[in-house]
C-alpha cells in the first residue's frame, strides 16, 4: 500500500512539473493560435537565472522574482522582435519562428551562462516529509501549489478580466476583435509576457527537483506539450489535468509494469485519447462555419 502511495506521490510531483510547463502554452495559444516551441526555453531561463543569482548570494525570494521577470522580458522581446514583425504571416510560419527562437535562446544561454548542470536547494530544505510509509520532498509541495495557483490565476484572468477576455477574443477572430475596439497587438504582447513569466516560474520552482541546463528546455517542452495536447490546447484546466495524468501514468507504469515502458505508456494513452477526442480532454470543440 505504501508503494502505491509512493508511486502516486512521484506521479503528482512529476505531473505538477509537466502541468506548470503546460500552463505556459495555454495563454499564447489562446491569444494567437501559435504553439510556442520556445516555451521550454522560458522554463530554462527561469531556472538558470535563479541558479546564477542564488549562487551569487541573492536571497531566494528576490532571485525567484528576478528570474520570473527575466523570463517575462524574454517573452516580450520574442513577441516584439520576432512575432510582431511577421504577424501577417500564416500560423505555420509563426510556429516555425518560435522554433528558431528556441534554438537562438539555447545558444544565447550557452554563452551567457555555461554548459553545466545547475541546481539550488529547495525553498523549504531538502529533508523529505514522511507519511503513510511514503516520502515527499517539500519542494514538490511548492511545485504543486505553484501549478494550482497559476491555474487559478489563468482561469480567473481569461474569464473574469477585460484583458483576459480581450486575449480570447483576439484568438477567436483577430479582425472582429479589432473592430469592436480591442487592442489586439496589446493582447498578444500581454499573452507572450504572461506565458513566458509562467514558464520561468515553472523553472524556478522545478529546478531543485529536475535540475536545469541550457539545453534542458527541449525535453521539458515536449512533455509539457504532450500534457497540453492530452488536456486540450488552450484550456488551463486541461493543462493541469493533462500534466498530472501523464505524471501518474509514468509513475505507475514504472512502478507496476516496467520502467522501460514508462514513456511509451504515456504516449499510448495520449494517442488513444486523441483518437476519441481530438480536441483533448477539456478542449473546446471548434466548429468552423463557412
Amino acid at each position: 500500500m505504501s508503494e502505491l502511495l509512493q508511486f502516486i506521490i512521484s506521479g503528482v510531483t512529476v505531473g505538477a512539473i509537466y502541468a506548470a510547463i503546460a500552463l505556459g502554452f495555454t495563454l499564447i495559444y489562446n491569444a494567437t493560435g501559435v504553439v510556442n516551441f520556445a516555451q521550454g526555453e522560458f522554463v530554462v531561463i527561469g531556472g538558470m537565472t535563479a541558479a546564477a543569482l542564488i549562487g551569487a548570494g541573492v536571497p531566494v525570494p528576490l532571485a525567484a522574482l528576478l528570474a520570473v521577470l527575466a523570463g517575462t522580458l524574454a517573452g516580450v522581446l520574442l513577441y516584439r522582435l520576432a512575432i510582431k514583425p511577421a504577424r501577417q504571416a500564416p500560423l505555420v510560419s509563426l510556429i516555425i519562428i518560435t522554433i528558431g527562437a528556441s534554438i537562438f535562446i539555447r545558444g544565447a544561454m550557452q554563452t551567457l551562462f555555461d554548459k553545466q548542470i545547475h541546481r539550488y536547494d529547495g525553498f523549504s530544505g531538502d529533508a523529505p516529509l514522511r507519511f503513510g510509509g511514503a516520502t515527499i520532498l517539500p519542494q514538490s509541495l511548492w511545485i504543486i501549489a505553484g501549478s494550482v495557483a497559476v491555474f487559478g490565476f489563468l482561469a480567473w484572468f481569461l474569464n473574469r478580466t477585460r484583458a483576459g477576455r480581450g486575449i480570447r477574443a483576439t484568438a477567436s477572430n483577430r479582425l472582429a476583435a479589432a473592430l469592436v475596439g480591442i487592442n489586439t497587438g496589446r493582447a498578444m504582447n500581454l499573452s507572450f509576457a504572461i506565458s513566458a513569466g509562467i514558464g520561468a516560474l515553472a523553472g524556478v520552482l522545478a529546478t531543485p527537483v529536475t535540475f536545469t541546463s541550457y539545453d534542458a528546455g527541449v525535453l521539458m517542452a515536449l512533455k509539457g506539450f504532450s500534457a497540453t495536447m492530452l488536456g486540450g490546447v488552450g484550456s488551463p484546466l486541461g493543462a493541469l489535468a493533462g500534466g498530472l495524468l501523464i505524471g501518474l501514468i509514468e509513475a505507475t507504469t514504472a512502478g507496476y509494469v516496467s520502467s522501460d515502458y514508462k514513456d511509451a505508456a504515456a504516449f499510448v494513452v495520449i494517442l488513444a485519447v486523441l483518437f476519441v477526442r481530438p480536441q483533448g480532454l477539456f478542449g473546446a470543440k471548434i466548429t468552423e462555419r463557412v
Binding site: F7, I17, K115, A251
Partner: protein, 379 residues
C-alpha cells in the same frame, strides 16, 4: 613611419624567426569540442593544446617541434571519418588521437589500417579494442572493468544480491549490458533491473521497487549526466540504507555538488585524478596526476576532468613511442606503441601487447567513497 608600423614590423620579424624552420612532427586529433559530447571533447582538446605548447617550449621531441591539428567532429561519426581522412591525406600526420565518443572512433577506425597510421582513441566502449585492430589503441578503461571493479568491492563486503538502476542513454545502456554479462563470473546475482530516461526528474518508483526486492543487498547505478544525481537524491529521500554504487561516468566534483548530502556514503570506481593528495609517495601515478592537475589549473583556472586525463595519457603514450622509435615513420611508431610497458599515466599504468591495446588492468580503477562532500579512497 609611425610607432605602430615599427612595432608591427618588429613583431612580424619576431614571428618569422620564431617559426621553426626545422621539420615538424604533425599529430592530428578529431574531437567532439562542441555539441552533445562537448563535456568530453572540450577538456580533451584543451589538454592536448596545453601539452603541445609545453613540449615545444621545452624544445620538442627528438629535436623536432610538434604541430597539433585539431578538428571538431561534434561527436558526429560522418564528420569524424571525413576529418580523419583529411588528417591523413592532406595534413599528413604521423598519428591521430581522438574520437571522443565510441561512435566517432568506430567510424574512423578502418581508415588507420588502410593507411597504416597509429590511432589512440579516447572513447570507452570495449568494441574498440576487442577484437584488437593492428593500428587502434585506446586509453580509457572500459565499462566492463567498471562493473568488475564494483562487483569485486561488493563481494569483498560479503554481499552478492545486486539491483541495477540504469540510464537508457548510450553510456548507461552499454554499462548495464556489461554488468549483466560479468555478474555471473564476479559472483553476484542481479535481482532487480530497472531503467530511467536521461532527463527524468523522479526515479522513486523504480527505487521503491528495487528496495522492495527480496534479499537485495546493494544497488548499482550505471549512468551519466544528471540522472545519477537525481537517483542519488531519491535514494536518500526514500531512506534506503543499502550500499550504493555509482559508475565512473559521474566521477567529478560536479556530481557531488548536484547530489548534495545525499551522495555521502556512496562508492564509485574512478581514476586517481580525483584524489591527488591521497596518493602515496611510491604510487607511480602520483607524479603525472599532480603534475597534470597543477599545469591544467595554471593554464585554464579549473580542475581537469577524467576525460582530459584520457587525452593526457594518449599524448604521453604517443610521445614515448615516438621517442623510442627514434623516427617519425608511422609504422615504427605503432610498433613502439605496442611495446609500451609500465608507463604511468593519470588514468592508470599502461602496458600494451599485441593482444591488448588498452593496456590497463583493474588496478587502474580506485574505489572511492564520498565522505563529507569529498572523495576518499576505500582500502
Amino acid at each position: 613611419m609611425t610607432k605602430h608600423a615599427v612595432a608591427a614590423g618588429v613583431s612580424a620579424l619576431a614571428l618569422l624567426t620564431a617559426a621553426p624552420a626545422l621539420a615538424e612532427i604533425k599529430i592530428g586529433a578529431s574531437l567532439a569540442v562542441t555539441g552533445p559530447a562537448a563535456f568530453l571533447g572540450d577538456p580533451e582538446a584543451k589538454t592536448l593544446e596545453m601539452l603541445v605548447e609545453e613540449l615545444n617550449a621545452a624544445g620538442g621531441i627528438n629535436g623536432e617541434q610538434v604541430e597539433l591539428i585539431v578538428y571538431d567532429d561534434g561527436a558526429d561519426p560522418n564528420k569524424a571519418r571525413t576529418f580523419a581522412t583529411r588528417l591523413i591525406e592532406e595534413d599528413e600526420v604521423v598519428a591521430v588521437i581522438g574520437g571522443s565518443s565510441t561512435g566517432a572512433t568506430m567510424a574512423m577506425a578502418p581508415l588507420f589500417a588502410d593507411y597504416e597510421i597509429p590511432f589512440i582513441s579516447l572513447a570507452g566502449a570495449v568494441v574498440i579494442i576487442d577484437p584488437v585492430q593492428e593500428f587502434v589503441f585506446k586509453t580509457p578503461h572500459t565499462d566492463r572493468m567498471a562493473c568488475e571493479k564494483i562487483f569485486a568491492d561488493i563481494t569483498a563486503r560479503g554481499l552478492s544480491k545486486v539491483g541495477l538502476i540504469s540510464g537508457t542513454d548510450g553510456f548507461g545502456a552499454s554499462m548495464r549490458e556489461q554488468c549483466l554479462a560479468v555478474a555471473g563470473d564476479a559472483g553476484v546475482e542481479i535481482v532487480a533491473d530497472e531503467s530511467y530516461g536521461g532527463s527524468d526528474s523522479d526515479m522513486t518508483p523504480q527505487l521503491t521497487n528495487i528496495a522492495a526486492t527480496d534479499g537485495i543487498e546493494a544497488v548499482v547505478n550505471p549512468g551519466f549526466g544528471q540522472g545519477p544525481a537525481v537517483v542519488t537524491r531519491n535514494y536518500a529521500q526514500l531512506g534506503i540504507e543499502l550500499p550504493f554504487y555509482q559508475s565512473h561516468g559521474v566521477a567529478s566534483d560536479e556530481f557531488i555538488k548536484l547530489a548534495g548530502d545525499a551522495a555521502n556514503g556512496l562508492r564509485l570506481p574512478a581514476t586517481p585524478l580525483l584524489i591527488p593528495d591521497q596518493l602515496s609517495e611510491d604510487d607511480p601515478q602520483r607524479e603525472p596526476v599532480q603534475g597534470y592537475i597543477a599545469a591544467y589549473q595554471a593554464k585554464y583556472g579549473e580542475t581537469p576532468s577524467t576525460f582530459g586525463g584520457y587525452a593526457f595519457d594518449a599524448f604521453h603514450l604517443l610521445l614515448d613511442a615516438i621517442e623510442r622509435a627514434g623516427s617519425t615513420d608511422p609504422v615504427a611508431i605503432r610498433d613502439a606503441l605496442e611495446a609500451t610497458s609500465g608507463m604511468a599515466g593519470v588514468t592508470g599504468v599502461y602496458s600494451f601487447s599485441p593482444e591488448d591495446h588498452m593496456g590497463l588492468d583493474l588496478s587502474a580503477f580506485r574505489m572511492l567513497e564520498i565522505r563529507d562532500g569529498g572523495w576518499a579512497a576505500v582500502e
